[in-house]
Subunit: 664 residues, 2 copies
């Protein structure tokens, strides 16, 4: 049965305020006069076929931002140009590029290069890869991104988290020192799979899966990773030679203290001095954002200073470890090193998936942050394709996983970058370094790399966010804490899995145990609000008005049934103990019931039956469109009929009261 006839006609004489308001409003003061009340019918949504609904659902899942909206109503040529711009954003900003923009981009490009070169070398060491791979990875990926990427401020290159995770996951099985070729092969293969995963997530428009890494999870995860990375740098800072490849807190700390005899006081002294210098410059730049260039220039300056120092004193400093000889020249091709069969393939895929997801999350978040600051849009799915293709290309040219780095992008933004051309400048600077300057790094000491890494990752520990989580949402804080402790004591994948599990559990818990509240009328208005929250709201005698604040699903339908019956029982007990008149009608406000399934419909039917047995009327107010549709399809509307559905609580109260008046 479809309800189509006009409901208004069923109530020839609409109830007026005076007709129903007298009954029990002795407590209502300062009520302004109410207008005569009309009863509006509850509409079904416009009819759509299953195919139409399915298409709508799919388009909401995969194309919520309607990415092709620009193509509507355009000429074929314009569509072609727009398509070109869609796939290669370079065509969008390219035609308007000017010398003024170039000047800004050159300055910012050179600035991030001075940061990217020492960081690239350091992060490669974090991934247990040869330092030169870090520079290779700062050359090809920025070039690819500058053609495909749509963020104007993203500075592309290796990042700490992905480097760390790759290093620990691969080192758990293969040691770089023992099998360097296999290790390199696995690293490039993992990078390839990371790229494939990223590009396909973007291409299939499944980008929303990374949303399941909530901010709470990431705050905890990043802090845990930063602590581990910093502790691992004690290797370089203390000059320890034999160090664990593991990542958990306990093996790292025991490794530090087991090898006390390897501590080198010269390394420690110089390392601490440079660390103090770097941390001070970081503090200065944080206090005064205009002085961003101080912290941006500090790493390269420290590398130069420490290299000169070590070169001059090399005859006297035997304990100090240095990078050593680095090969000159451009990225060698590495297609032949991809590893598609063999015992370690599963490890490479697993590493690729986890580093891929993590680096994607960082890259997208960074891109969105700076896009929001400058008020332009970054299409998440397109960015994923760009980052994915960049990693696939990287894996074929001796690069490991890269993405947009938060610290370097911030410097890029502060230095005034206008377009992705700053990435081209970065790549050109790295190119010159690779071709001509590599011998200069021979005596660069390892401790300075450790100091640079610590300075970079210390910013990942975000106490403020953690404190805010604690203050605002205890369960979010729990997810944060679990991912922090999980990363620290278990492992990266396990810590992440636990945190995602808690986040999903939180959603399910909210669905399983939704809020139900009793509503009262705010005198003189048609507003019905939570009695517990609005002290001026008053109960309407003979009515119990309940609001359910969640969809009604199989997971909560029995709970809601029990809970509603408890509200009714408690109301009846209260009425009996206060000698009030009986409850004669229960109104269920469905405004916040955003969906219902078959179990939920059964609950509604069951409640109606149970209340009818107790001679209590049961009506629904304001069911949303999808709920109305399901009630209609399941023929429940028939049992409610016209008299059991109202558009607002106020109309329900007025209409039912007037019906009672009419038949005394």
């Amino acid at each position: 049965m479809h309800i189509n006839s006009n409901k208004v006609e069923n109530f020839a004489s609409p109830a007026t305020k005076s007709a129903w308001h007298e009954e029990g409003t002795s407590t209502m003061t300062n009520a302004t006069p109410m207008p005569p009340l009309e009863v509006h019918k509850v509409c079904l949504p416009p009819h759509r076929t299953t195919v139409q609904k399915f298409r709508h659902r799919l388009s909401e899942i995969f194309f919520p931002d309607d990415p092709l909206h620009k193509f509507k109503h355009q000429t074929p040529f314009r569509k072609f140009v727009l398509g070109l711009q869609f796939f290669f954003p370079v065509f969008q900003w390219g035609p308007n590029y000017s010398l003024k923009l170039l000047k800004s981009d050159v300055i910012s490009g050179l600035t991030i290069a001075s940061l990217a070169i020492p960081q690239g070398i350091s992060y490669a060491k974090l991934a247990n890869l040869p330092p030169i791979v870090g520079l290779y990875s700062s050359f090809v990926p920025p070039l690819i991104y500058s053609v495909l990427g749509s963020s104007r401020h993203l500075a592309v290159g290796p990042v700490s988290i992905a480097s760390l995770v790759m290093g620990t996951m691969l080192s758990g099985t293969v040691s770089y020192n023992e099998e360097p070729i296999l290790y390199l092969k696995l690293a490039f293969t993992a990078t390839f799979f990371a790229g494939v995963l990223q590009a396909s997530l973007g291409f299939l428009r499944l980008g929303f899966v990374i949303d399941f890494l909530s901010k709470a999870t990431l705050v905890g995860f990043m802090a845990g990773a930063a602590v581990i990375v910093s502790l691992q740098q004690l290797k370089g800072l203390l000059g320890i030679v034999h160090f664990t490849g593991k990542m958990q807190l306990i093996p790292v700390l025991s490794s530090v203290f087991k090898h006390k005899d390897e501590w080198s006081w010269q390394t420690i002294l110089m390392g601490l001095c440079f660390l103090a210098l770097l941390l001070t410059t970081r503090q200065i730049s944080m206090r005064k954002p205009k002085l961003f260039w101080i912290s941006a220039a500090a790493p390269l300056t420290s590398v130069i200073l420490s290299t000169i120092l070590v070169t001059c004193l090399k005859s006297k400093l035997h304990g100090v470890q240095v990078i050593g000889k680095l090969p000159k020249g451009l990225n060698p091709p590495s297609v032949n090193m991809l590893y598609f069969s063999g015992t370690h393939l599963a490890l490479a895929i697993k590493t690729g998936i986890i580093t891929g997801i993590l680096s994607l999350t960082e890259g997208i978040a960074v891109g969105r942050t700076f896009a929001a600051l400058r008020n332009y849009q970054v299409d998440g799915n397109k960015e994923m394709v760009a980052i994915g293709l960049m990693n696939m290309a990287g894996s074929c040219s001796s690069c490991y996983v890269t993405t947009g780095s938060f610290s370097r992008s911030a410097v890029n933004y502060n230095a005034g970058a206008q377009t992705v051309v700053s990435n081209i400048i970065l790549a050109s600077t790295v190119l010159i370094t690779l071709l001509f300057l590599m011998p200069l790094f021979h005596y660069t000491p390892n401790f300075i790399l450790a100091a640079i890494i610590i300075t970079a990752v210390i910013g990942l520990i975000d106490y403020n966010s953690a404190y805010k989580l604690f203050k605002v949402d205890k369960l979010d804080f729990l997810a944060c804490l679990c991912s922090f402790l999980g990363v620290l004591f278990l492992s990266v994948p396990l810590g992440l899995a636990i945190a995602v599990g808690i986040s999903v559990f939180k959603i399910l818990l909210h669905v399983t145990r939704p809020n139900t509240v009793v509503l009262g009328n705010i005198p003189g208005t048609q507003i019905y609000q939570n009695l517990n929250r609005y002290k001026d709201a008053v109960r309407i005698p003979s009515f119990l008005i309940l609001a359910v604040e969640a969809p009604i699903y199989f997971a909560n339908s029995l709970y809601l049934q029990e809970r509603v019956m408890r509200w009714i029982r408690e109301e009846e007990e209260w009425l009996a103990s206060n000698n009030k008149s009986d409850m004669k009608c229960v109104i269920l406000d469905m405004t916040a019931v955003s969906a219902i399934d078959t179990s939920g419909i059964d609950t509604i039917v069951e409640l109606k039956k149970m209340l009818e047995k107790q001679s209590v009327k049961f009506v629904l107010a304001n069911p949303v469109g999808s709920v109305m549709e399901k009630l209609n399809h399941s023929n429940v509307l028939e049992s409610f009929g016209f008299e059991g559905l109202y558009l607002t609580v106020g109309e329900a109260v007025a209409d039912i009261s007037s019906a009672w008046k009419a038949q005394p």
Copy 2:
């Protein structure tokens, strides 16, 4: 900052209808006069400490039905009596028990006994256990349940689904024919663990976990199981000796046709005749519920008839398999057969968990169904404890998993059972059978057991429900179909896991991609409704009113941000192409936003920032209590201030319009 001051004071002259309604309501016809509009402030919920909130949350999770409410305000003696009644429902109905009730219970007890004895023997065979175990299981558990259980109509004993699952899971590893003692040990141990799980779920008040087996899942699962069970009975009906122990469709069917030479025409002929008889009686009872006793008496009658037939013709019927010799006497103790260490312990625990959950689901559902018919309450958690203790006791007295059976409970209800005494009568009848009548079953043929099982399980195939699912909710139907096919082609645990996965995925999908709708005003009222659904609703010029129909979580916050921006973009495009005045204010109706987390708060802040950059005002309407609390704790309320929060959309529109009027 906490908002406590009175908002009303901020607007000295409340906007009147005439002041704001003129602006753009030329399309509004038949509008009744509106009253002067007051602006109400949005309240924070009453302050509660974290501990109070935590306690409230826990009590909602574990004690939603407030089970101790009867104990409030009672004398200590009364509390003791209530406590006794709480733990042993027998004290509740015992004192009022009368001869009249006893008469009804004796009749219904004898009726279900006539059904329980042949079914007990059949189901034990389904679990690959000796037939006598089925009778043992119809003796001890009903006695225990009659003391602890609170359902008046539940008929306790072995059931088809749990028997089938136990049989297939154990037979996958251990064969009863080869290692009968080990198989029995595992069956009793699994029963013990099932009982422990059931009792602890009830005791820890975690009963809601079984809610995750939604009705859709169960419809599919039961149908799949019924198909498999029926096909497996071809063994008995065709007289096949060598049959697979597996449960999937393909091995069962291939087993039937591989052993064509073992088919026995005498067995087939007699089996089909009795099956036709049983199915006919079933049809008669379904058509006329008053004739329920026809189908209730049919199994025992068929057993007696077929046994007489086979006994008389035994010299001529060589191919017909019979039950054989059954031991006389009561349940032997089996505590010494529980198996707590050894290679198969994991199998026993796994079997216990799955059969425990399944039998619990059936028992609770059956109890609730009949309680609803007679309008009494069954406390799910207490029932779980009763069923759990009954299985633990059963495992120590040679019983396997038992629960409330749907078919026998229905007969019990129809036969007029008034209390659990009918279970005592059932047990007494089984006792007499065990002591004196066992030799009579010697020549009972296997085909009659197969026919009884088929007749029983065929009722589990519920096309009507499946069709209703298809009509009302396609995703629910998908879950149903997956659990059906999963059980048929994969395995019971996998089929169930897939179906639960789909159900949870459905919840997450709804949260990830919630509905957003544009609201318009129904002329002459303060009602704002979906423009797409209510054709008489009209847009308010200069306003865009959006409603979000879901909690805002990390999983949907980015989607919502993009989606809201798209609504705004589309609105602006529409306004520009129709030469309408600019959009100046976006109102977000938060009525249906039942919760928010830190990511959601960031989205609200982000939207506000983005809209402010476009000089568009952004206000919230009617945030619910928990959302207000979080907005307050995260200091977002400060940025909205008094002018960014309204109790209703109507007040927001009126107030903002009048403010624009005031500053032209």
